[in-house]
């Protein structure tokens, strides 16, 4: 488990990273916390010609909640995110971060790295999907925002273009009174989830749901939303059997993957259990 040869350069700014990527060509990879890329290199599953290290680039490690959208810098570590005091449904992002790996991994791993890596079972893509996130990408052509719905294009693939640097994630503050909850199931603490659920709900003054997002990880080629379950929630109240019914709708709406640890039938059962758990917690949060 020694990586094949690669060239290495450390960037001191986003502009320098863009320039280094442009020089290095299509087989270059950005390196930030290294918690996914380094194991891939060691197992020779990734063979980049160049690594452009942005881990110490200044200005990308802040969380800014002063605007209409929460802006999270690409280099914010999971350990910082999990401690962040985020309002309403945005708290689902901090909860998601707390489920990632083990503490040493969370000390180094970054939100930008996790999204760009696009592991279909990773936590942060699910949370960002549930929060209608926008991904900010910089290149020599300037800066663009990518809606999260069109960001994840397949397992470990995104709509980032060669030469682009993911610099931040923007998360609009949900309408009204909102709450979010993240739930996942893994066989061991710290493993990738067999199924992960991020749920976010906003209610009006009567307690009727006016906005709902349910996103799943670990069930498909990318993090997915289950709109059939979301639309069952909107206009309803989170009382009685509603969480269970919505959970059943979510389970029915997805088409989970099979693997040696968990078959599709089992994953569907986990979707039902975890969506139900997340919605019950949201109900408790909104009631308090």
């Amino acid at each position: 488990v020694k990586p094949p040869p690669f060239a290495y350069a450390r960037a001191e700014s986003v502009d320098e990273a863009i320039a280094l990527l442009a020089d290095a060509g299509e087989d270059a990879k950005l390196l930030a916390g290294g918690q996914s890329l380094i194991p891939l290199l060691a197992y020779r599953l990734a063979r980049p010609s160049h690594l452009v290290d942005i881990d110490q680039v200044p200005g990308l490690a802040g969380i800014d909640d002063s605007g209409a959208a929460l802006e999270v810098g690409a280099l914010v570590r999971h350990a910082e995110l999990e401690r962040a005091d985020l309002p309403g449904a945005l708290a689902v992002l901090a909860q998601a971060a707390s489920h990632i790996g083990h503490l040493p991994i969370r000390m180094r791993g970054t939100i930008g790295g996790s999204l760009a890596h696009a592991d279909p079972a990773a936590e942060l893509p699910v949370a960002v999907l549930a929060l209608d996130g926008r991904i900010v990408a910089a290149s020599d052509k300037g800066t663009r925002e990518i809606q999260v719905e069109s960001f994840f294009t397949g397992p470990f693939t995104t709509s980032l273009q060669p030469g682009e640097v993911l610099t931040a994630i923007r998360l609009p503050v949900p309408p009204g009174r909102s709450a979010g909850s993240f739930a996942e199931f893994s066989v061991r603490a710290g493993d990738f989830a067999l199924v992960a659920v991020a749920a976010a709900v906003a209610v009006d003054d009567e307690g009727r749901v006016e906005w709902a997002r349910i996103a799943l990880g670990g069930v498909d080629a990318t993090a997915i939303r289950v709109s059939a379950a979301e639309s069952e929630l909107v206009g309803a109240e989170l009382t009685g059997d509603a969480p269970r019914a919505v959970a059943a709708a979510a389970a029915a709406a997805c088409d989970p993957v099979d693997d040696p640890i968990a078959d599709a039938v089992y994953r569907r059962e986990l979707v039902a259990a975890l969506v139900g758990e997340a919605l019950v917690r949201i109900r408790a949060e909104l009631a308090s």
């Binding site: 020694k2 990586p3 094949p4 040869p5 199931f185 061991r188 603490a189 710290g190 640890i261 089992y266």
Partner: protein, 732 residues
Amino acid sequence: VSGPIGAEAPRPRDLALLTGAARYVADLTVPGQACLRVVRSPLAHARLAGVTADAARALPGVLAVFTAADLPDVRIPIRLPFASTPRAERVLQPPLARDVVRFVGEPVAVVVAEDAYVAEDAAELVELDLDPLDVAVDPIAAALPGAPLVQEELGDNVVATLPLRYGNVEAAFAGADVVVRARLAVQRHTGVPLETRGLLAEPDTASGRLTIWGAAKVKHFNRNAIADLLDVDPGSLRLVELDVGGGFGVRGELYPEDVLVPWAALTLGRPIKWVEDRAEHLVATNHAREQTHEIAVAATRDGRLLAFDATAWVDQGAYVRTQGILPAFLPGHHLPGPYVWEAFSVTSHAVLTHRTPVGTYRGPGMTEASFVRERALDLLAGELALDPIELRRRNLVPPDRMPFVYDLGPQSPPIVYESGDFPAFFERLVERAGAAAERSPGVGVGVAAIVEMGGIGPFEEASVEAQPDGTLLVRAGVGSLGQGVEVALAQIAAEELGVPVERIRISFQDTDEVATGFGSFASRSTVVAGNAVALAARELRARAAELLEVEVEQVDIAAHAVELAELGAISARYEKEHPSYSFGGALSVVSVDEETGRVRVLRHVVAHDVGRAVNPALVRGQLAGAAAQGIAGALFEELGYDEQGTPLAISLADYLMPTLAELPEVESVLIENPVAGSPIGVKGAGEAGIVGSPAAVANAVADALGPAGSAVDRLPLTPARIRAILRATQSP
């Protein structure tokens, strides 16, 4: 605690291990060393038409690429004579594959390069010309006629069929009120030391000798075997043990790499280092455990056991390795367990498959057999509507029948339980669990009673030598795998010599310093070497009494150590004809989440008759560590394969070793029932904690599942499997 024996003396290496100052073989670097990388088969079964290494050899930094054609035509031998058969001898593994590859991970070529990075780059450039052949993956299917052959020359895949009979089974079944039948399976899994294997072979051109750093477990056997395979004088080889990060039966056996690395060092005249990586470890180091038993148990209506009849298919993997057919031999001998049976019959088939060869892993055979027997007993208890604890109480060997013997006829040595009050020991386990063992919804309690076989012979030699500096040097042929045997031996020597433990130095690491040694396995080091140390110490006292012209009781070794140095090394040998059998048990309390299938072990208690606890802290550590591995085998770990024989667990992300978050604090009950007639009275302790643990966990899970629990028939009990069991019973 009156003397050094019974004290909780700390292990001398603890501080180094805890502060990162330990020295493992990977930490050792010598001038001029080169690195070796093994090129392994990517296919489970293929004809090897050729190996092309031109591109690898052309890579800058590459020193050599070797294939089987470069090596002497040798096979890795069976270490244990009683585990060998003529058929087994025909399917031993060559250090590098010749003509056919038989499992994913089989060594095919080696690359030697200036560093480990270049070696791995070059290994990728070695082209293997492989023509795929049909594979046999499932042991039961592989045993059937017409299955793809793993070793063509055998004619079939059953390398051995081992019958074991006691009493009149047919008559016992004919007289039974109740017969329960079950098909019970244990999955492929193994010991996974956190330190992978590794070697550094360093030739000395001046003396012509070769030092091999990184040895473990069985240094003297390996020295002699390597000398034999490479056709050199055993005296020209020196094997040295460094800090060892766990053994568990798999580390330290003679593997292909143990021949390849010294051979390359002698051939190239350079120090050669090889450190196994985790991906290699999971396909190259011995696998273990996989077997399926079909068992019928006969009993009376009031819960008296009469007889059992079992057939077992035990996976051997693609070759027979150093432990021979032991993986298939041991389970049958442990099926009777601590109970009185009128009769039993076991037929075990050792079956070759196109997968990593199988060896022994902590508690070999006894752990699998205990799972099978104890699950079957719980099924019987269910059938009889009898409390499982009560069923065991009624059938444990009573103390008035000790020593208790199962005479297995002329074909096999008898099973002899020397001593012990099994029913009383069992009550201590049940009492320890106390009220926690009471039922509540979603919570189950499971119990297992076992015997552990340990302390196997044939003998160990040890010596004690007073040193001019006043210390006492003890030499013993054991290995320290992290268990702390060195402090246990020091305590025994200190006790016998009447000196503080700090005055004892133990030498065991270097074959140049210690003449003989069978090594550390089968819970034998403290038993066999410990008794040898005690005998040598007593002999030193006797000789000191002569020299000092005082009575033996009056000898003050500490005061006269300098004078006693002139006696030189006083040696003694302790012979052990039969293994020791110790009673033990495990009791587990688990919760099962019906929605997700998750099992949590809430409490886990193990009890073990250790004879005499030389160092109770070490014994409890051994029991807890072994129990953790037992829980791991019950709930988490599996070396799965797909239909093509491709391994599914290739990293610790796929091989689910539990962490502390998944494990309870293991409670232990130490039973001290000294062995009569032995110098120090100790029994083995290294394996007991694992033996009953998977059975107890599985029985607890079955108990928590209620009526659905009868479907608990194979390990590991993963959340997905628990859900599948519940789904099957919940669906209309």
